[in-house]
Structures are given as structure tokens and as C-alpha cells.
């Protein structure tokens, strides 16, 4: 099911470099990344590379460091050691250019405005993701369609079930056609239809050259086919 507001290869008006099949720079390069919370070292020398069109699953026990890794990649928290490069850019120096190309689904069921309707939540995200004005409505409609939310578009978020809410959160992650999709336990609360829609959205993103980093607990069902699988243990990331 298509969710792309930007056709592959099209020049984006918002200034971000277009996603190009075969783009030379990797979507994500993480080198020797370490991160502490107080004395506790959550990430220890993590290395990871994602090429455009590649899908990677990172699994691990609760508290193993999956969410911390994703938060470091999105730039919301800073690593204490090591480096991160996104599409060959330095996210510290070229923050806005990097953030335009990231789609992030945080773990849990939060990060939705409870008193706003589904459509207004998506429209707000489209605005702060700098989706150009004349493409905004189409992008929101496309995301609603992609996650089966058309009939719920005028319903307030606090009147949705957990699974429906998760679809809204996923729609936000994919709405601006990101080149790197970061998903933290994305199949939480989803029914089989929801999982199929998620799988379709990931396939569509991979098909247009985006990379996908999927995090989930150890032993969780594998909803999508991944190119590589890693396992977190004691803050160290190793091939599974």
C-alpha cells in the first residue's frame, strides 16, 4: 500500500536531498557508540551500518539498550562516546537535514495528542516535519489510507483503542516518506490486519530505497523479513 508523498527520485521542495536508489552514503553508520545513565553503561561500543534499502532487526531483553540506541540515532539524546552518521551527514552539525529524513516510532502508546483528532495529529506532525504545504493534505490522506485510518480520521485520539492508536503513531512515522525508518516495538497492540499494514508500509519504504531499523524484544515474532539480525546483550550489539 503506497504511503509515499514524494515519488522516488523526485526533487523535494523542502530542501532535503531526495532518496535515490543506489545512493552512495549509507543511511546510518554507528561507530563505537557508548551511552551511560549515571554509572550504568547502557550501550558499549555499538557498531552498526544500514545501507539504503536494507532492513535490520535488533532484538534484546527488556532494558538491553534498544530504545537508547534509537534515541541516540534520532539525536534526542547524545552519545557519550562514538559517532553517528546519517546519509553521510553529521547529525550534530546538520541536524535539520538529518531529521527531515528520519521517521521514528517511539516505544509505548504515548506521543499522541489525546484531545486532537487522528487527522489533526497527523497534520500537526506533517507541519513540524516540514512537509510542503501543497503536499500536506495528500501526505496525511496517504498515511491514513496506508494504516486503515480513514474512517477514524475525525475521531479524537483518546477515544481510540490501543491498536488503533498504534496505527496513528505508525502513520506519523511514515507520513513524510522518511529515508530511514526507526521502529521501536512497532507491532505492539496490532491485530493481524494492523501487522499486515505495517509490513506493507515497511516493504514500500524499502522498495523506494529507505532503510529500516526495527527493534523488538528477544523472542518476538518476526513481522517483516529482515536482511540482518542483531542481538543486544549487556549493552553490546552482536550479530544473532
Amino acid at each position: 500500500m503506497p504511503v509515499s508523498a514524494f515519488p522516488i527520485g523526485a526533487e523535494r521542495e523542502n530542501g532535503a536531498a531526495p532518496s535515490k536508489p543506489g545512493e552512495s552514503a549509507p543511511a546510518l553508520v554507528v561507530r563505537d557508540l557508548s551511552r551511560k545513565y549515571g554509572p550504568r553503561e547502557v550501550l558499549r561500543g555499538v557498531n552498526l551500518t544500514l545501507e539504503p534499502g536494507q532492513s535490520v532487526l535488533v532484538s534484546g531483553a527488556n532494558g538491553a539498550g534498544k530504545t537508547t540506541l534509537l534515541r541516540c540515532v534520532t539525536g534526542v539524546i547524545a552519545p557519550h562516546e562514538g559517532s553517528i552518521s546519517l546519509f553521510g551527514l553529521d547529525p550534530e552539525k546538520q541536524r535539520r537535514a538529518c531529521q527531515r529524513r528520519i521517521g521514528f516510532l517511539p516505544a509505548g502508546d504515548r506521543a499522541v495528542y489525546a484531545r486532537l483528532t487522528v487527522r489533526k495529529n497527523l497534520d500537526f506532525w506533517a507541519r513540524i516535519a516540514f512537509v510542503p504545504r501543497r503536499e500536506r493534505v495528500a501526505a496525511v490522506d496517504s498515511a491514513l489510507r496506508a494504516f486503515g485510518l480513514e474512517e477514524l480520521s475525525d475521531r479524537r485520539a483518546d477515544r481510540l483503542s490501543m491498536g488503533q492508536r498504534q496505527r496513528v503513531r505508525l502513520a506519523m512515522a511514515f507520513l513524510h516518506s522518511p529515508d530511514l525508518v526507526l521502529l521501536d516495538e512497532p507491532d505492539t497492540s496490532l491485530d493481524p490486519d494492523g501487522v499486515a499494514l505495517l509490513s506493507g508500509a515497511v516493504d514500500e519504504a524499502l522498495g523506494r530505497g529507505a532503510a529500516c531499523l526495527w527493534c523488538g524484544p528477544t523472542g518476538a515474532r518476526e513481522t517483516v523479513t529482515t536482511d540482518l539480525t542483531y542481538e543486544f546483550a549487556d549493552g553490546v550489539l552482536e550479530p544473532a
Binding site: 530542501g15 506521543a111 495528542y113 506532525w125 516540514f130
Partner: protein, 270 residues
């Protein structure tokens, strides 16, 4: 140019979001108007007791105090509301979405000042109108329109404090509690309820080194014709100076706070 367009889009997005959230609670406006009427009524009867040399009549004191109440709305909207909003966003997890967006946490916090400002401006107009209609407040309509640019200038000057306090919430979660004390101090030293001339000499100097006093004086002058202690141009100059110097400093400080809270990891804590 595209950066300006993007930021404008983000600012409009946040303004519209805050408006949509606001109107989702329908009883809020009615409750606010009722609170205004109770406050205006209380001070009206207090003013009937005032017979001091500083005011020629109880009505003169009432006009003075209503001017103070109007500016208090602006102070509260710029100092108290944004930190509360950020705290609420941290609870609901929506701040994470702002932080990872291309708009980013710093611009998001700055734009969160917009809705409270516009709301306080409208509240101030409603309060003034109620005081005029119900209690016969002698509004000087010929200059009252100037109250809007004066209030905007005052809010710009105050917002530097609001930006910093809101930033501090990212580091110390209960920082918004401190704003209650700050607002209480302002009401005392900026002459919101009584003339600053009544303050002891060792405190009075504080009235001259903050933007609230000139804003209060100017607003009273244009709304109710209360005489100014200093020339009007000097008060305007003070406000422009405070806004021009403090606001850029506050945004720089907020950027530093955001950086530190990213490193410490407190940016998402609540």
C-alpha cells in the same frame, strides 16, 4: 528563505495545535470569564475602602489595580503557561516527537509562547471590557488601542524569562513551581497592586531593573490615563532594550540547556 518558510510552518502548526487543544475543553472559557468577574468584583469592593493620598478616589485605585490585573495576565501567560505546557508534553510523551522533528526542541519551545500570548491579549481585552461594563471603569478609549502594541512589546520582554524557565524544566522537572514565586515577586516589585513608591528604599531599585514596571506603567497610561512616573519614550526604550538584549540571550541559553539535557538524558524524563 526555505528555512524561514519551514519555521513559519512549524510556528503555525504549534499555534494551531494549541488552539485545537484549547477548544477541545469547552468549559474553559466560561470558567475563565467567571474567575475574571470574581477577581474584578473582589478588587472593586477593596477599592471602596482605599482612602490614601496616592489615589484621589476609590475609582482611581480601581483603575490602577485593573491595569495591574491586565498585565498580570500577560506575565502569567509568558512565565507560567509555557513551562506547564512543556511539563505536560513530557508526561504525555509528545515532547519526544517535537524533539526529533526537524523543528527541534528549541524552536518548538519558543513557538509554544505564541498561543498563551494571543490568549492573554484577548483575556486582557475581555477583562477590561467587563470592568468597564459592570463596574464603570473609566477606560480611555482614545488611547486604549495602543494597549495592544504595548502589551506585545511587554510580552516580548517578559518572554525571555519564560523561555529560560521553560528550558530549565528540561533539566529540573519541577522548575515550573518556581515561577509561582517569581510571579509573586513581580506583583510586589513591579507595582501591580500598589505604587512602587510605597516600597522601602532598599527594595525599590528592583523596580527599575526589570521590564515589568515600565510595561505596567505604560499600559495603565494608555488604558486608564494613569499618570506616568517616567516619560513614555523612556519606558518604551526600556522595553525595547530588555526585549532586544534578553530575548536573544534567552534563546542561546535555552539551546545550551537543551544540549546539556540531551547529554544528561533528562530531556525526556518527567
Amino acid at each position: 528563505m526555505s528555512t524561514v518558510r519551514d519555521l513559519a510552518s512549524g510556528a503555525m502548526g504549534i499555534l494551531q495545535r494549541d488552539w485545537n487543544v484549547f477548544i477541545a475543553y469547552r468549559g474553559r472559557v466560561v470558567m475563565h470569564i467567571m474567575s475574571m468577574i470574581f477577581t474584578l468584583t473582589g478588587f472593586y469592593y477593596v477599592s471602596r475602602l482605599v482612602t490614601v493620598g496616592s489615589f484621589r478616589s476609590p475609582d482611581a485605585y480601581y483603575a490602577f489595580v485593573v491595569g495591574g490585573l491586565v498585565i498580570l495576565q500577560m506575565v502569567t501567560s509568558t512565565l507560567h503557561t509555557p513551562p506547564m505546557m512543556v511539563q505536560s508534553e513530557l508526561y504525555t510523551g509528545t515532547f519526544e516527537r517535537l524533539a526529533i522533528s526537524p523543528l527541534g526542541p528549541v524552536a518548538s519551545i519558543c513557538f509554544m509562547m505564541l498561543f498563551p500570548f494571543f490568549y492573554s491579549l484577548i483575556s486582557a481585552i475581555v477583562m477590561l471590557t467587563l470592568a468597564w461594563l459592570i463596574f464603570g471603569l473609566p477606560v480611555q478609549w482614545s488611547t486604549a488601542g495602543l494597549g495592544i502594541p504595548v502589551a506585545a512589546l511587554g510580552a516580548l520582554a517578559f518572554s525571555s524569562f519564560g523561555v529560560v524557565i521553560t528550558g530549565v524544566v528540561l533539566l529540573f522537572k519541577q522548575a515550573s513551581v518556581g515561577t509561582t514565586w517569581i510571579i509573586a515577586l513581580i506583583t510586589l516589585t513591579a507595582g501591580l497592586y500598589f505604587p512602587v513608591a510605597l516600597l522601602p528604599g532598599w527594595v525599590r531599585w528592583t523596580s527599575d531593573v526589570q521590564p515589568f514596571t515600565p510595561a505596567v506603567d505604560l499600559l495603565r497610561r494608555v488604558l486608564t490615563g494613569t499618570p506616568l512616573a517616567d516619560p513614555a519614550w523612556l519606558d518604551v526604550l526600556k522595553l525595547v532594550g530588555f526585549a532586544g538584549v534578553l530575548l536573544p540571550l534567552a534563546v542561546c541559553l535555552l539551546s545550551s540547556i537543551a544540549r546539556v539535557s540531551r547529554t544528561k538524558g533528562t530531556i525526556l524524563e518527567y
